[in-house]
């Protein structure tokens, strides 16, 4: 017994070491830097000082920070929860038990958005929303004069872009979950007189609850971290209209050169992710 556990430890060493070096140590350092005046340039770059909670008190007094939290929540709820999770579920439901060619064609179209690298998605979307872009051409056919989408509706534009990019993931998760529901359960319910809405709310959704929570968590965490898409499309602007927390963090760290402050913001972002995940697990009573 002893010998087995010793060799088990030995086998674990490489992965533990790697975790320690590339994960645990950076996290501890991040927490530490959040309490310093670390800066990219200026005299603070040379004299790292412990500043206590100053970064955090500054942050909560900073109107830009409060705006960014708000923008992050709006972006999260509309592009992740409502957009990807709900839309993905509807798509999966509609495609269930349809003919294979139909499923394939629709599947490929939806997944195209997902397999496209984020930066390419951003460029496609800029082309789509720009002054002479596809969207303005289309509305032009109906006699509507062009709209500066990225300027007039920046948040809506990045939300649509993120939905287009991410929905396929949710769809695939739900597809595989729905396929695993045995047909006879739904058949039995139909015989008992349940309508399709009742089947959906009392049978289908409860049976894929686990997938829903897992998917919500993954999509939420992924969306909280979206940077490339927003930064490329709008740069967080105009003004602060699309400045979500990741963009705000980047601006503080690399535009204002305040690394310590930027790190503190990243900790708050992490906290929001944890709280959201716990909330999903509690509200759906699922253990992951």
């Amino acid at each position: 017994m002893k010998r087995t556990s010793r060799s088990a430890f030995l086998f674990l060493t490489p992965s533990v070491l790697l975790l320690l070096i590339f994960f645990i140590v950076p996290i501890i350092l991040t927490v530490y830097f959040a309490f310093t005046n670390m800066a990219l340039t200026g005299s603070a770059a040379q004299n790292l000082e412990f500043v206590g909670f100053r970064n955090f008190t500054n942050m909560f007094q900073d109107p830009d920070f409060r705006i960014s939290v708000w923008r992050t929540l709006v972006f999260l709820i509309f592009s992740a929860v409502i957009g990807q999770v709900v839309l993905g579920f509807i798509l999966a439901l509609l495609m269930k038990e349809k003919n294979i060619t139909f499923r394939r064609i629709i599947g490929i179209i939806v997944i195209a958005g997902w397999v496209t690298p984020e930066i390419v998605v951003a460029f496609c979307m800029v082309a789509f929303f720009s002054d002479n872009g596809t969207l303005n051409q289309i509305i032009g056919w109906f006699g509507i004069s062009p709209i500066s989408w990225l300027f007039s509706f920046p948040m809506v534009s990045v939300i649509i872009a993120n939905i287009w990019h991410g929905t396929a993931f949710s769809m695939m998760v739900y597809q595989s979950a729905l396929d695993e529901i045995p047909k006879d359960i739904e058949e039995a319910a139909t015989i008992d007189g349940a309508g399709s809405f009742k089947i959906l709310s009392y049978i289908t959704i409860p049976m894929v609850k686990g997938s829903i929570v897992t998917n919500m968590m993954l999509v939420t965490l992924q969306t909280l971290g979206v940077f490339t898409l927003i930064y490329t499309m709008t740069g967080g602007g105009p003004g602060t209209a699309t400045q979500t927390l990741p963009v705000f963090m980047y601006n503080q760290a690399f535009v204002n050169y305040q690394f310590g402050y930027g790190t503190a913001i990243s900790l708050v972002l992490l906290l929001i992710g944890i709280v959201a995940s716990l909330f999903y697990m509690k509200s759906m009573k699922v253990k992951v």
Binding site: F11, A39, N58, G235
Partner: protein, 459 residues
């Protein structure tokens, strides 16, 4: 059995060690001279793309000439393709490590004091002391721009510039406006823009740099050009404090608001907020007669020269460069901000001696002048006027004359922090998301929070 297990565990341990060492060793293999006994000097600067003038300047035989004279030194050019804002953070990250630090780096004079205070740059006092050109040939007031807080020299000024209003003479004539354009106060600039808007639909009247992706340009070409024409400044040299709230600041934000939101004579936000707004204005809108005025640097006109990115024939007949007026025409009537680039040697450079040798060569009368001529800039050397072709360049006489009314940016390592705040507020005001009065209030709040109560004052 026991030995067998031991073998397995040993193999696992070895494998993991191997993995770790390979993971850690990637970075070191890049350095090392190109040929035996040769020292390699890497020079880094910001490139604006495939048509970059500075890259062309290096590749036009300059390096060959130096390498022929110094066979033991090899010069590598390593341009960084980035916006002005990103360039600064990219080179700072490079300069932090001896593995990635270039040997010569182009530093904007707005950031050089910050980088010096951070310890990224090598003091060059001994080098310039032994260089006779430094004493006699470099314009004295430009040396303040490369001097750190500690009084040491951290760079050699390479370019200097002024700012003003570029305008399209043909469009002005078409709209019935006087040519040459000589506005006496802000109102005349606004009025000209309104006239263009009325008379020439489809033409953008006035381009100001307001998108924060344009970085320092927003602060210097736009807000400071306005502010230093009022009775206020951004920094009080006597009290050593930042003036974060003043009537001049409010008026400056009001001007921006007037152009973009009240008169709507500014560029469309799609263009204005683009990081390449300046290039779009000078390479596309101006040559296509779609833009009448732009407040920008004296170098910008070189875009239209024969070897520029968007050549215009008989450019002097079509385009003009007017001084930017003071707010109400108060003395001295016009103002300009002056900045420029310097060459510095990073503290982590591995070949400082060879780097200095190349720097001296780069900044001799002939080569220093050739660069500013190619870029359309003003020279930091007072003997450039003796080089054929310097003063008879298009627009240079106008730009050079403005040096008499030039203001320089606050010489302080906190400048970058203040400037970043200004950039984002100017963008918010221009895009109509923030009222001018709120912008001033936010500037006061944000700068006070970042720098502390004792570093700011209100006028």
């Amino acid at each position: 059995m026991k030995t067998n297990k031991l073998k397995v565990s040993m193999t696992a341990a070895m494998a993991s060690l191997l993995l770790l060492t390979t993971a850690c060793s990637g970075g070191n293999s890049e350095s090392g001279a190109a040929a035996e006994g040769q020292e390699e000097v890497t020079i880094t600067f910001r490139s604006s793309g495939s048509e970059d003038t500075l890259t062309k300047y290096f590749e036009s035989g300059l390096i060959d000439e130096f390498e022929e004279a110094n066979p033991d030194i090899k010069i590598n050019i390593a341009p960084v393709l980035a916006s002005e804002g990103d360039y600064t953070s990219k080179i700072v990250l490079q300069m932090k490590s001896p593995d990635t630090a270039p040997d010569i780096v182009a530093e904007d004079t707005s950031i050089i004091k910050s980088d010096a205070a951070a310890g990224y740059l090598e003091p060059l006092d001994t080098q310039v002391a032994g260089w006779s050109d430094w004493q006699d040939k470099f314009i004295e007031n430009l040396k303040a721009g490369v001097t750190g807080e500690d009084g040491k020299i951290y760079g050699v000024p390479a370019t200097s510039d002024t700012r003003g209003i570029w305008y399209n003479k043909e469009l002005f004539a078409e709209a019935g406006l006087p040519v040459p354009f000589q506005p006496a106060n802000w109102e005349e600039v606004l009025e000209a823009a309104r006239t263009i808007k009325d008379k020439l639909p489809g033409v953008t009247p006035l381009n100001l740099i307001v998108g924060k992706s344009s970085g320092e340009g927003v602060t210097m070409q736009t807000l400071e050009m306005l502010l230093y024409g009022t009775n206020d400044t951004l920094y009080n040299d006597e009290t050593k404090k930042w003036v974060v709230n003043s009537p001049g600041l409010l008026d400056s934000f009001n001007f921006i608001n007037q152009v973009f939101n009240v008169d709507q004579t500014g560029t469309s936000m799609q263009v204005a907020l683009n990081g390449q707004a300046g290039s779009i204005a000078f390479q596309q809108l101006f040559p296509q007669d779609k833009l009448a005025m732009a407040v920008d640097g004296s170098w910008a006109g070189s875009t239209w020269f024969e070897n520029g990115a968007a050549p215009i024939e008989n450019v002097e007949e079509k385009m003009g460069f007017a001084p930017f007026p003071t707010q109400n025409g108060q003395e001295p009537g016009a103002i300009t901000m002056s900045g420029g680039w310097a060459w510095s040697i990073p503290a982590q450079s591995q070949n400082k001696e060879a780097a200095w040798k190349f720097l001296e060569f780069l900044m001799n009368q002939e080569n220093a002048t050739a660069r500013v001529v190619a870029e359309g800039n003003l020279s930091p050397r007072n003997d450039s006027v003796d080089v054929a072709g310097y003063t008879d360049r298009t627009f240079v006489a106008e730009a050079q004359a403005l040096l008499d009314v030039a203001h320089f940016r606050p010489a302080n390592d906190e400048y970058a922090t203040v400037s970043a705040q200004i950039q984002s507020l100017v963008e918010s005001v221009a895009s109509g998301k923030l009222a001018p009065a709120d912008a001033v209030q936010q500037l006061q709040d944000n700068v006070t929070r970042s720098l502390g109560e004792d570093k700011v004052e209100v006028k």
